[in-house]
Symmetry: C2
């Protein structure tokens, strides 16, 4: 039953950018000043270091790295992660999987339940397509009906699909709620049609990522590991080997790795980081990741006690809190207050003077995933936010791909 | 100095939909069941009634109606509003204005400050373009520098632009903070180059829209009206007539209309409504608007105490609170809890039974504007959410147009 998940060759050159609006294409090579506000800007140097640090961590701790593409939704960034040694990518939706596959990604895990028969037919078609070109598709299940419907859809092809049983390791969202329920699902897979290959356990604790203290996160992941081991042991009693346990996110992955209970890590946000992760108290078990994602914004109105910038929650997601105002040389620390879809209000933290009308301000979004999902492109800058130049315009290929 | 703002003829047929993905185009004519989840669905019957009710209100109260297109970002919906008697539309960004103009809208007010010289050149170009075809562009200002930069940019054309001085009527965001400051800006316009035509006051109180009780809203708008009148009186002393006062939103527009201080209303959300507006206690001064915007979602995981649906905050915006679960025949009332970008958890409100795996649930988004902005299209349904059919696929033309 053992399967090796391996990184597969990419099939296509980077996506063409010729159909980008001329205003965007014309930016390439220009200085940061030329970027219109608000825009989503990536510090490409910091991004490169983040990719490298996570790749090195995975090698050092002998875990596989399968980064979550739901965060960046970009074929080109997924390629960078593959080049740095990722074994494949995760996505949340069949539409994301389709887009990533059409961009040349060959090893894709839909780390979520898909139930609609219409979508399962798309899953089957994509499994076939990836298998034809030497790749593979994997998917999570957490119900008898889910397995049955998947098996039904797969009958339209002769392809196989890797199936991971999701177990609830403390988040209280999807997943088998205990070891006996997980065993039941695994038995269905093992005894069922050979097109559905039992490929392991999906054990992700989303809530643990944003527990603020290292102690809280350690306790949550220790508890999650207990649940993983309970399932493994029950399966061992039934003489079923678990080929892989996959899970973990940016807030906790070093704990999952250290536990020995996980074989593969799925972090996404480490690429860019955000204000919510910045609020986590760090411990020394993780590499240090840098903020690489910014919203360039501009002061469009001034008053004695505040300035108003042109970036509101149509430019950055505030579900996990407000953005941070990135400290720039010569600027006093400021706090961002929500002022609607298109506006944010900045006030001085302590002393200092407010920026003038027209000044540039850089925001670190509260939550990277849904912020990226608001934008059609990311503007990659090399050489820093102050004096850098635009290196490229990267599409958010799967922007809005929710179904 | 008096100018009439009038609705102008639309220039183009409805946007072509031939380049929509076949999966979407194929939906037209099908039953609601065929809509993949999560998708943004509009009850076209309810929408039509909402448009009609607001149009009738404006006629009855002798105010102009200039709905805010930042909410729907759709050329086709703006056309429907024009057909029902709107005098033009509002937008927040030059990019939105460009898109609406290219869709045939001719009378556009950018109800926001634009400061970047690069964007002001686009403003000037659009003012020229609209004037050439018999339309007009208007824009808000709240600073001396803003007026100076606009005048500078307009010199590249021989076109005129209507300029409204924004005054802060209680929101504490943009706008001249008092009457003398407003007078100063108006004088600059009146004495300045003739390309910049003083066209009135922009007086919008965003915060008042979501005050929950009618008394709170009445107090806020009464206070706003005091500020409007103070500016009007100071201008009258300087022998400057105010051609127009424009403002108001869905939560308060009947109060602005009743005050006599406003000539034009800018509501947007009345088209669709949302869970936040549903939390407002209604008074009898406003027409009743119906929920017309829904996220169709599906149960993808079940547990004894909850079900998980496939719509999280990449499908609907939660900046103004969680969505409501739309009560369907035979379904018990349920509450939505945030469970991440791609998931929501539903629990029973009181008694009853949870929906089964695969069941459809309809969510009423917490906040309509940023929810629409997450989606490339809206699926218009005629005949109700239960038994209706897909009538058309409407593009969110200005989705992501933030700069």
């Amino acid at each position: 039953m053992k399967r090796t998940w391996k990184g597969l060759h990419l099939m296509k050159p980077p996506p063409e950018t010729e159909d980008l609006p001329p205003r965007l294409l014309g930016l390439v090579g220009q200085g940061v000043d030329a970027i219109e506000t608000p825009s989503l800007v990536v510090d490409a140097d910091a991004l490169g270091r983040n990719i490298q640090r996570m790749a090195e961590f995975a090698v050092r701790h002998r875990v596989k790295l399968r980064p979550h593409a739901k965060m960046h939704k970009s074929v080109e960034i997924a390629r960078l992660q593959m080049q740095a040694g990722a074994v494949g990518i995760c996505v949340q939706k069949i539409s994301e999987a389709e887009i990533m596959a059409s961009g040349g990604l060959n090893d894709i895990f839909i780390s979520n339940e898909v139930i609609a028969p219409s979508k399962l037919l798309r899953v089957a078609a994509l499994a076939y397509q990836l298998q034809q070109r030497g790749g593979r598709l994997a998917i999570a299940v957490d119900s008898h009906e889910g397995i049955e419907s998947l098996a039904h859809a797969m009958r339209m092809t002769n392809a196989a699909i890797d199936v991971l049983v999701e177990i609830d390791v403390g988040q209280g969202r999807c997943g088998a709620s205990d070891a006996p329920e997980a065993l039941q699902l695994v038995l269905e897979l093992v005894r069922g049609p050979s097109q559905l290959r039992f490929a392991g356990l999906h054990a992700y604790h989303g809530g643990a990522q944003h527990l603020r203290t290292p102690d809280e996160r350690r306790a949550a992941i220790a508890q999650a590991a207990v649940r993983v081991r309970a399932v493994r042991e029950l399966l061992a009693e039934a003489e079923i080997e678990v080929p892989l346990v996959t899970g973990a996110g940016t807030g906790s992955f070093s704990l999952e790795a250290a536990s020995g209970a996980w074989d593969e890590l799925q972090p996404g946000s480490y690429l860019f980081m955000d204000a919510s992760y910045a609020r986590n108290h760090q411990d020394n078990t993780q590499p240090r990741f840098e903020h690489a994602l910014f919203v360039k914004s501009q002061v469009i109105s001034v008053a004695p006690d505040r300035v108003v910038v042109d970036a509101g929650h149509k430019s950055h997601a505030i579900d996990s809190g407000m953005p941070l105002v990135h400290a720039q040389a010569g600027q006093a620390p400021m706090n961002y207050t929500d002022a609607g879809d298109e506006h944010g209000i900045l006030r001085l933290g302590m002393s200092g003077s407010l920026p003038r009308l027209g000044a540039t301000t850089w925001l670190i979004p509260g939550h990277c995933d849904p912020t990226v999902n608001l934008h059609d492109v990311m503007i990659f800058v090399r050489g820093g936010l102050q004096d850098g130049r635009v290196e490229s315009i990267i599409r958010v290929d799967a922007r809005g791909a929710v179904n």
